[in-house]
């Protein structure tokens, strides 16, 4: 079992059990890695010879591509397994999948799975490093880390920032990871959305609840707007997408009601005209595309640290600044 010197441990399953120091070390490690993606030759030999499996039991484009770029830019050898066409759909259990991966002596597994706890399940059963790319409604730690990095890029240290997560918190692994990370770094956190889509006991997690998006906008400095999945309407959680937009949609009119400029985040993919209006998504305070850019750097940092890299030597590992 390769325990890394970064203090992250073997796996990144979630942010709930990470300390502020551990989270900051990931964010700080991502800083030098941002620059690699700006180069003409976007590759450094940090993970040369490492084999990584991207194991996606749920469809994903942006997270999978982001991880794959991060892996390739660090020179790892990667294999992608997605649920369609793999033995997953033939009824193989997760534990058998894990044992097969173990038998092939891979170094790391990046997994997305529809069941909460599946990342921890895998991590407990194989010696490889496991990176959670989203497990059910539990956590999506790299998404939250890239959100934290993006907020810090624009607003400085997270301590004291007021961040409101708007939308379907109940089904959202992004929301849980954000809540854990933000609270650990000293931010104030609120959630806002239909009560049908907020988990019970959320206040006990240390967050405020706003029923009306206008109140959330009044309070917040940063809005992280979650995607409202079409299935939620079909599941009866909200009466219609139209009504959702009317009551909880973030529009430029609603933002104009306050003097402050709110930073606008969205984990994507967006439903324009539902949870976010186009003029907000494309507006001057939207950092949605920068989140995507930062995602690659964050994932490079996580892979690097889990592979045993030290935060202090990240700059050297990437071969200094390109001249």
């Amino acid at each position: 079992m390769n325990s890394s010197v970064s203090g992250l441990g073997k796996d990144l399953v979630g942010l709930e059990r990470l300390s502020a120091a551990q989270i900051l070390s990931i964010l700080d490690t991502a800083e030098p890695f941002k620059e690699i993606s700006q180069r003409r030759i976007k590759k450094v030999p940090v993970l040369r010879g490492k084999t990584i499996v991207n194991l996606f039991f749920e469809p994903s484009t942006r997270t999978r591509v982001s991880f794959e770029f991060a892996e390739k830019r660090l020179s790892a050898d990667t294999v992608n397994i997605s649920s369609s066409g793999s033995s997953v759909v033939k009824g193989e259990t997760l534990v058998d999948t894990a044992r097969n991966l173990e038998a092939m002596n891979i170094d790391m597994v990046v997994m997305r799975h529809g069941s909460s706890g599946s990342a921890q399940f895998l991590a407990e059963r194989i010696p490889s490093n496991v990176v959670n790319a989203g497990d059910g409604r539990h956590e999506h730690p790299t998404q939250a880390l890239l959100d934290l990095l993006t907020i810090r890029d624009h607003r400085g240290p997270l301590d004291g920032q007021r961040v409101c997560i708007v939308g379907d918190v109940l089904h959202s692994r992004v929301a849980r990871s954000n809540i854990y990370g933000l609270l650990e770094l000293g931010a104030e956190v609120a959630v806002c959305g239909p009560r049908t889509l907020l988990p019970r006991g959320i206040e006990q997690m240390g967050v405020r609840v706003f029923d009306r998006v206008e109140e959330a906008i009044e309070w917040a400095q940063v809005l992280n707007i979650l995607r409202l999945q079409l299935e939620r309407m079909e599941g009866g959680y909200v009466p219609s997408l139209r009504e959702y937009n009317q009551i909880w949609g973030v529009s430029s009119e609603r933002l104009a009601a306050v003097d402050r400029e709110l930073l606008i985040l969205h984990p994507g993919p967006m439903n324009r005209g539902v949870e976010i209006d186009s003029d907000v998504a494309d507006g001057p305070h939207s950092v949605i595309l920068q989140q995507v850019t930062n995602g690659v750097a964050i994932r490079m940092a996580v892979l690097y640290l889990l592979a045993g890299g030290s935060p202090d030597s990240a700059e050297a590992a990437k071969g200094g600044k390109e001249t």
Binding site: E16, T93, L94, V95, S116, G117, D135, R137, G201
Partner: protein, 430 residues
């Protein structure tokens, strides 16, 4: 078949039905209790004399809620392995639930379970029959004929009756046959998709919850239907504080209701799910500490009349899955006596006599079994256990085919020594 007479000498006999809680000899002849007295001197020729001094001798323990999985899921458990697990746990009788494959919803199926139980030759196997055809909650199964075939109660356990009209019909019909209607109280609309208790832990773990209200609504509904039909309602594995309070009030109102507490709801909370431990996944789920304490108080004061394990064996492959995908339930037959004795009797929260009430007398009464007493002439179903035996729960030693228990590694005091059914020793740990 006539076995040798047995004389249990010098044990601490706890027989609440006869007000006995003292040193007694117990003589069993021809499958019946022949005599219980301070000193039995004259015994028939060939009597097997067993010195049980230092041990507790009780009317046979009864677990009125077990899943034996046969027919259909023999990889989890069979009637034979379940009956042997029961005997090893100190139980002389169990009552099987009907959610097998196919379900126990016909007199033929009832006959099959009872015959397989007799053949096992361990604990007595009684069975319930389904309330509805196919456990589908739509129309009554052949309840009368199932009772004639030997079913002791009706229930759609695990498949709650959502149609209150059907529950009314079932309760009315049960009056003709003097059987309890047992219900797993759960409103499937409110609990839809839930895999654990709904609360802070489920919110943190990102698991879908079943709120207390899903259970409470059905408890209240069932109590109301029981009151107006006059039927005997038996509420299974009560897990909520509000549910316990409603049952207490219902009893005060004279509603005919009996209810179960399970060892896991008496001892664990949803904190046991932390780490996505599938051994802590069951239905109803482990709830809050407030609920646990209320279940305990209800068991102690008798609001919850019986302790029932909801023994639910599963193959280890089935439990070694992501939490959402793992099935509900834990095994209980081989840990129940040790858990109750260790955590409630030894701590002084209940007396030995109360333990025997909850685990023998009340289950026998609720299900009209000829059991729960050491009266002369009663069937010689006797449990003997060593109240000082220290042991550690090790699922690899279970007679049950399954090992899914959250109590693995628990250190317990009090272990079955002899289980005697109809005058025959079916388990002997000496």
């Amino acid at each position: 078949m006539s076995d040798r007479p047995i004389l249990l000498k010098g044990g601490h006999v706890v027989d609440p039905a006869n007000g006995v809680d003292d040193l007694r000899d117990v003589l069993l002849v021809d499958g019946r209790i022949a005599s219980v007295s301070p000193s039995v001197d004259e015994v028939p020729d060939g009597t097997l004399e067993l010195d049980v001094s230092g041990s507790v001798v009780t009317p046979g323990l009864i677990d009125p809620h077990v899943h034996l999985r046969e027919p259909g899921q023999e990889h989890k458990e069979t009637i034979a392995t379940g009956a042997q697990a029961a005997a090893a746990g100190g139980f002389t009788a169990v009552i099987a639930m009907p959610n097998t494959d196919p379900p126990i919803d016909t007199p033929a199926a009832v006959g099959y379970v009872l015959a397989a139980g007799r053949k096992a030759g361990a604990a007595r196997v009684h069975t319930t029959g389904a309330i509805s055809v196919g456990l589908e909650g739509e129309r009554l199964a052949e309840i009368g004929e199932m009772v004639q075939a030997g079913a002791v109660a009706i229930t759609d356990d695990g498949h709650p009756i959502m149609d209150s009209g059907l529950m009314r019909l079932a309760m009315e019909y049960s009056l003709n046959f003097d059987i309890p209607v047992a219900d797993h109280p759960e409103d499937l609309g409110i609990s839809a998709g839930g895999v654990m208790n709904e609360g802070l832990v489920s919110s943190r773990l990102g698991l879908r919850g079943k709120p207390n209200a899903s259970e409470d609504i059905h408890i209240i509904r069932d109590l109301l239907v029981a009151e107006f039909t006059g039927a005997h309602l038996h509420l299974q594995h009560v897990s909520t504080a509000f549910g316990v309070e409603m049952i207490r009030r219902a009893k005060d109102r004279g509603i005919r209701v009996t209810a179960e507490a399970s060892p896991h709801h008496l001892l664990l909370t949803d904190a046991a799910v932390e780490g996505y431990r599938t051994e802590a996944k069951m239905n109803p789920p482990l709830r809050s500490e407030e609920d646990r304490a209320a279940v305990e108080a209800g068991m102690i004061d008798g609001t919850l009349d019986v302790i029932a394990t909801d023994h639910a064996p599963h193959h280890y492959d089935e439990k070694e899955q992501a939490f959402d995908d793992a099935p509900n339930g834990i095994v209980g037959l081989e840990t129940s006596l040790g858990l109750v004795h260790t955590h409630f009797v030894r701590t002084g929260r209940i007396s030995l006599s109360t333990m025997v009430e909850r685990m023998s007398v009340a289950p026998a009464t609720a299900f009209r079994l000829d059991a729960g007493t050491l009266s002369t002439g009663a069937p010689a179903d006797v449990t003997v256990f060593d109240p000082e035996a220290e042991w550690t729960v090790d699922p690899s030693t279970f007679r049950s085919r399954a090992s899914n228990t959250p109590f693995e590694g628990e250190e317990l005091v009090g272990a079955p020594l002899l289980t005697i059914v109809g005058g025959r020793v079916v388990f002997d740990a000496r």
